[in-house]
């Protein structure tokens, strides 16, 4: 996984609530397993007109915010489908961190599997930051080491993040590698469970033997 420590750059305000993962990336765009074109399709319903031409008014199409590494979003960002392609698509656009009052639970987990940092801040704070980035040119910084957002006005705002998720992001740790260290515990748990809850195991094991 790509580690995350600090990002500095423009923060694009996209303050609509409930932006779902279908809007972030249409499912049809994921039936091609090659991710090479994802940047073309991220947020396409907002970035493009139905005829495929660019909507110049959309925030990420405005010269200042093209390629912005930070997104300021409305509440419940990434709700809906579990497609991890939503995270890949945002990262393909160059986005490394999203700030919102809340996130869809599965999207939130998927971010940490890929090195995208979701930051939860109160709605009023995100709104205030959106106001600052809309009017000024100064960049914003997200510092995971110090758990700080440094606003375009230079104000330092601290944010909460789960300790283990923070460590994994900072070091780019792989969950599978970490879990495989517990393999003997898994084996022991399963052996005990086969005796305690045989109905979980026997029907599927028997079927596998027969079919």
């Amino acid at each position: 996984m790509q580690p995350f420590t600090l990002v500095t750059g423009q923060a694009a305000p996209l303050m609509l609530a409930n932006i779902d993962t279908d809007v972030i990336i249409r499912i049809e765009r994921l039936s091609d397993p090659s991710p090479a074109h994802l940047h073309l399709y991220a947020l396409e319903a907002l970035r493009h007109f139905p005829d495929g031409s660019e909507n110049p008014d959309f925030i990420l199409n405005q010269p200042r915010f093209r390629g912005a590494p930070i997104l300021l979003a409305g509440a419940n960002f990434g709700c809906g489908s579990s497609r991890e392609g939503a995270v890949w698509a945002l990262m393909a656009l160059g986005i490394r961190s999203v700030l919102a009052a809340s996130f869809g639970d599965i999207f939130y987990s998927n971010c940490f599997q890929n090195g995208l940092l979701p930051v939860v801040l109160p709605e009023s704070t995100v709104q205030a930051l959106a106001g600052q980035t809309s009017t000024g040119e100064s960049p914003m910084t997200i510092d995971l080491v110090r758990q700080l957002v440094i606003s375009p006005a230079g104000e330092e705002l601290s944010f909460e993040i789960d300790k283990q998720r923070r460590e994994a992001l900072l070091e780019g740790l792989d969950d599978i590698d970490r879990t495989l260290k517990h393999v003997s515990s898994i084996t022991a748990w399963q052996a005990a469970d086969r005796l305690a809850r045989p109905w979980v195991w026997q029907p599927v094991t028997t079927h596998q033997a027969n079919e």
Partner: protein, 465 residues
């Protein structure tokens, strides 16, 4: 210490405490479909690892397969490769694969309960957010992304943090024409699309206890539309009867032993919920969405909201954007709006009971001129049973198209889409912008309300036909 049913199941599956509130959780069942399965299986191979417990993993193609009558794996060419990769990788790993035309194939969340793969007290995952459907049988079931799916294939575990506990009690007897779909849409509109973020929802109360398992699956299906990764209902005799003799459920003495254990899966009386809500089910009307979030739902006899009266600027902006996309005017009744399409299908409402209910209303009526209406059964088994009961003839005689099983136009991943600008009444679970096709205008409703719209050509109160 008193526990919720969720906590009881959770605690049982903790292999080790990882500290800071994290647990390594055993996963009892893992389901794969043709969109999320291939990347996870390919990732396992790429890492040079193997599937730890293939006997606990089951796969079927549902998202990217055509549902046109007489379809084959190649009817939708883009999906053909995904199905082949899923099939080949599943076989190589020793994972049971239910192919097109075989009992077991179907929308993964219809197939799990139908085969008895979902059972009370189990942990069950799938790379699909509607995995919470299986909670209707008392399973701790949740959707994951492809990275977590890979993790579970390799280790049969996931690293998880316990969510907050939320309860929604439905009390009372629903009025005629009010189905589980109406109850859950009402709850989402009342509480909000993010109300349960970070929480597991337990549905309880007299309405739920009196509800059949199929309806409970519908209720739990839409948990994620309220922001919850998990929704569940404590198992009871209704659940045990539903599961008896299912293909992969325990049989005979083993079933009895399981039931004895499952009876302990109830929430203790003094268990503490972080949030507790009550909904009077007897006061709920047939409910339908007007906008682009499942929280944009109103009673069928209600008025389309006026953004001018919204409580905050953010709500006003969201409502206005939704009205523009949907081509609707504020303050007007939604009933009477003309429709172009009707879709009866999806993991929310394509079980046999849904099709029976729809067929009963469609019998002797005709789909209105200018309306295209599809019925897409949730699984091969649902399709066969519906045909044995003659439901396909009822639908065809009424002018509905009768399809093969799959996700179809709920997610439009298989080339089947609502055309741009067309208005559809759909029994699915998401009315997001572009969900059923770019520019498609979706109104979510029950199967009965979908039939009412099909035969009148307008959004119609089912109680009036």
């Amino acid at each position: 210490m008193p526990h919720t049913v969720f906590e009881k199941i959770w605690n049982r599956h903790v292999i080790c405490d990882l500290g800071d509130g994290w647990a390594l959780l055993h996963i009892d069942r893992h389901l794969l479909h043709d969109l999320s399965g291939p990347p996870a299986l390919v990732d396992v191979a790429r890492r040079g690892l193997t599937v730890r417990n293939p006997e606990l993993v089951f796969a079927t193609p549902d998202h990217a397969v055509s549902t046109m009558p007489g379809r084959t794996g190649g009817t939708f060419p883009l999906g053909a490769r995904l199905r082949v990769v899923l099939k080949e990788q599943a076989h190589a790993a020793g994972i049971r694969f239910f192919d097109l035309g075989e009992e077991g194939q179907g929308i993964v969340h219809v197939m799990g309960p139908e085969l008895g793969l979902a059972l009370p007290g189990l942990t069950l995952i799938c790379g699909d957010s509607h995995t919470c459907t299986n909670g209707g049988l008392g399973a701790l079931a949740f959707g994951v992304g492809s990275s977590e799916s890979t993790h579970a294939l390799v280790t049969q575990t996931l690293r998880q943090r316990k969510p907050g506990q939320m309860r929604i009690r439905f009390e009372g007897t629903p009025a005629q024409g009010v189905t589980p779909k109406d109850l859950i849409l009402h709850a989402i509109s009342h509480l909000g699309a993010a109300a349960a973020a970070g929480h597991a929802i337990e549905y309880a109360g007299s309405t739920i206890r009196a509800m059949k398992s199929e309806g409970r699956l519908t209720i739990c299906n839409l948990s994620v539309e309220m922001g919850a990764k998990y929704g569940l209902i404590a198992p009871d005799d209704t659940t045990f009867s539903f599961l008896a003799d299912r293909r992969f459920a325990p049989q005979g003495a083993l079933f009895d032993a399981a039931v004895a254990d499952w009876r302990t899966l109830i929430t203790d009386e003094d268990a503490v919920f972080d949030r507790d809500e009550m909904i009077d089910a007897s006061a709920v009307a047939p409910t339908i969405t007007w906008g682009t979030s499942p929280e944009h739902a109103i009673p069928i006899d209600g008025l389309i909201p006026d953004p001018a009266t919204a409580s905050t600027a953010a709500v006003r902006q969201a409502q206005q954007a939704a009205l523009d996309y949907m081509g609707l005017e504020p303050g007007k009744p939604l009933a009477g709006t003309g429709v172009d399409w009707v879709f009866i299908g999806s993991c929310a409402n394509a079980r046999l009971s849904d099709l029976r209910e729809a067929a009963q209303l469609a019998r002797g009526r005709r789909v209105a001129q200018g309306v295209t209406a599809w019925v897409v059964p949730g699984s091969e088994a649902v399709k066969r049973q519906a045909e044995a009961e003659g439901l396909n003839r009822v639908f065809r005689e009424a002018g509905f198209a009768w399809h093969e099983s799959g996700c179809s136009m709920c997610v439009a991943a298989n080339g089947e889409r609502i055309p741009p600008g067309a208005r559809v009444v759909s029994t699915s679970n998401r009315n997001f912008v572009g969900r059923q096709g770019p520019g498609a205008r979706t109104h979510l409703a029950s199967p009965a309300m979908a039939v009412a719209a099909a035969v009148t050509g307008r959004i119609t109160d089912v109680r009036r036909i």
